[in-house]
């Protein structure tokens, strides 16, 4: 997956302003955007998703031009085919787990799902081991369960890339290690490239094939891991980082 970002965005609130000038590229399927709070990493990823319109620049994902102000291109968010895992998961509180997961498939409230779509929902719930929670509301779920539901919802339409905004920050430290492992398995199973925003160095170890370091609204450094684990056996180093998951 090729990801190219070269954008500028100025935010103003009251008398203060924040300038984001982000330029980076990645050709790995695991990219980590790392930096302290307020460094602009969420703003950059929201720009990739189309939730924020940059003032100028260009965004290309997987060879598709999503934004280019010089050409007047700005693909609407709904047409970018992206998965996005929000920090608090943003599960719709008035819908059950099944309805949340089926949400991207069902485009009207008066027609039900087609039989094939219903099957898809059941299969993805089984893959995430959440079938028994199908009729529960998000408020009745634990942190880990909510994350699985949010991932299932994000992946059901087979997005071209999955953006994760501090995906483990709402979890306790033991669960965090387990969910890292699960996320790696999910990436392999669904063959989807991940871009992970984090300020946790452990996430960098696990997901940082390409590491983009943000500081004060700019990219301070872009680096690639020198020893890429290519086979399943070579994932030992990742398992070491996540040893508590065992």
């Amino acid at each position: 997956m090729r990801l190219e970002v070269d954008i500028c965005k100025t935010l103003r609130s009251g008398g203060r302003s924040f300038v984001l000038e982000a330029t980076f590229a990645s050709r790995d399927d695991l990219t980590v955007i790392f930096g302290p709070s307020g460094s602009g990493k969420s703003l950059a990823v929201q720009s990739i998703a189309g939730l924020v319109r940059p003032d100028s620049g260009r965004i290309v994902v997987g060879g598709e031009l999503l934004f280019d102000d010089s050409q007047g291109t700005n693909l609407p968010t709904r047409e970018r085919n992206m998965g996005y895992l929000f920090q608090d998961y943003a599960l719709f509180p008035h819908l059950t787990v099944r309805e949340n997961i089926a949400y991207p498939l069902k485009k009207t409230w008066y027609f039900g799902l087609l039989p094939g779509q219903r099957q898809e929902v059941e299969e993805i719930m089984a893959a995430f081991e959440i079938s028994h929670l199908a009729e529960s509301l998000p408020s009745e779920l634990s942190g880990g369960q909510r994350q699985r539901v949010a991932l299932a919802r994000a992946l059901i339409k087979k997005p071209s890339i999955l953006l994760l905004d501090e995906p483990f920050s709402a979890l306790d430290s033991m669960l965090r290690h387990r969910m890292r492992m699960e996320l790696l398995e999910i990436r392999q199973k669904f063959a989807v490239p991940l871009v992970v925003i984090t300020h946790d160095p452990a996430d960098v170890e696990v997901f940082g094939d390409t590491l983009v370091v943000f500081e004060n609204g700019g990219v301070k450094e872009v680096s690639r891991r020198t020893h890429q684990p290519e086979t399943a056996d070579a994932n030992i180093w990742r398992q070491k980082v996540c040893w508590r998951a065992k």
Partner: protein, 224 residues
């Protein structure tokens, strides 16, 4: 058996007024809650004005605008032959205007209470702005809207001043419960006054209890 026709007229007027106010209030509430533009606070103040203005002053404004020689009323009469003054439709107009701010304020608070993360999530999951309004924003704001609708209905039922100015107090045509109670007391018909007062009080208490329940459930609701 006392004449209960003012009660049916009141219910009809209040139902129509609430329905019309609901449409306008939801639209303006969404605009002021979700869009940032110059003059937003001024627009909010103008829309809230009927809440604090004396009803007779409000009625006078309505006559100026909707009267047979008014800005809009004149046009209606000339082109469509419609006269709103001293008709039950005029009472609906007055009740709509007095009820509107209660619905508008409740709806705006309800929309502002919907976490924008849900709307962002819906956009990413493929929704258009209209789809996400009906599938996410409206259902999540529903309790606040329902509470505002009930308050607006109660206010529309109880209006006196503005309705009197616009629709008058014509027995059997524009006389609502508030005016019937006033007339009954003036002529010493306390049986009618008592009956109407008891019925109106029961309706208002029921509405307030339901509104409180809705508001309480919203505060302890399922929002994450």
């Amino acid at each position: 058996m006392p004449d209960l026709s003012p009660l049916w007229l009141t219910l009809r007027v209040a139902c129509f007024a609430t329905l019309i106010a609901f449409g306008f209030a939801v639209a303006f509430a969404w605009i002021t809650a979700r869009l940032t533009f110059w003059g937003r606070d001024l627009l909010d103040a103008i829309l809230t004005l009927p809440l604090v203005m004396p009803p007779t002053v409000l009625g006078y404004y309505l006559i100026v605008v909707w009267g047979r020689n008014g800005w809009l009323g004149g046009w209606l009469y000339e082109h469509l032959g419609i006269i709103l003054m001293f008709t039950w439709q005029g009472a609906v107009l007055a009740a709509t205007v007095v009820a509107f701010p209660l619905l508008f304020k409740s709806a705006r608070a309800a929309f502002e209470g919907v976490d924008s993360e849900y709307e962002k999530a819906a956009r990413i999951l493929g929704d258009t702005e209209i789809q996400l309004f009906f599938r996410i924003t409206l259902p999540l704001a529903a309790r606040g809207l329902a509470a505002g609708t009930m308050l607006a209905f109660a206010r529309a039922m109880g209006d006196f001043g503005a309705t009197l100015m616009v629709a008058g107090n014509i027995q059997g045509r524009t006389q609502t419960v508030s005016m019937a109670v006033f007339d009954a007391v003036q002529v010493g018909d306390y049986q009618l006054a008592n009956t109407l007062v008891v019925i109106m009080s029961l309706v208002c208490i029921t509405i307030l209890v339901m509104t409180n329940k809705l508001t309480a459930r919203r505060q302890g609701g399922t929002r994450q």
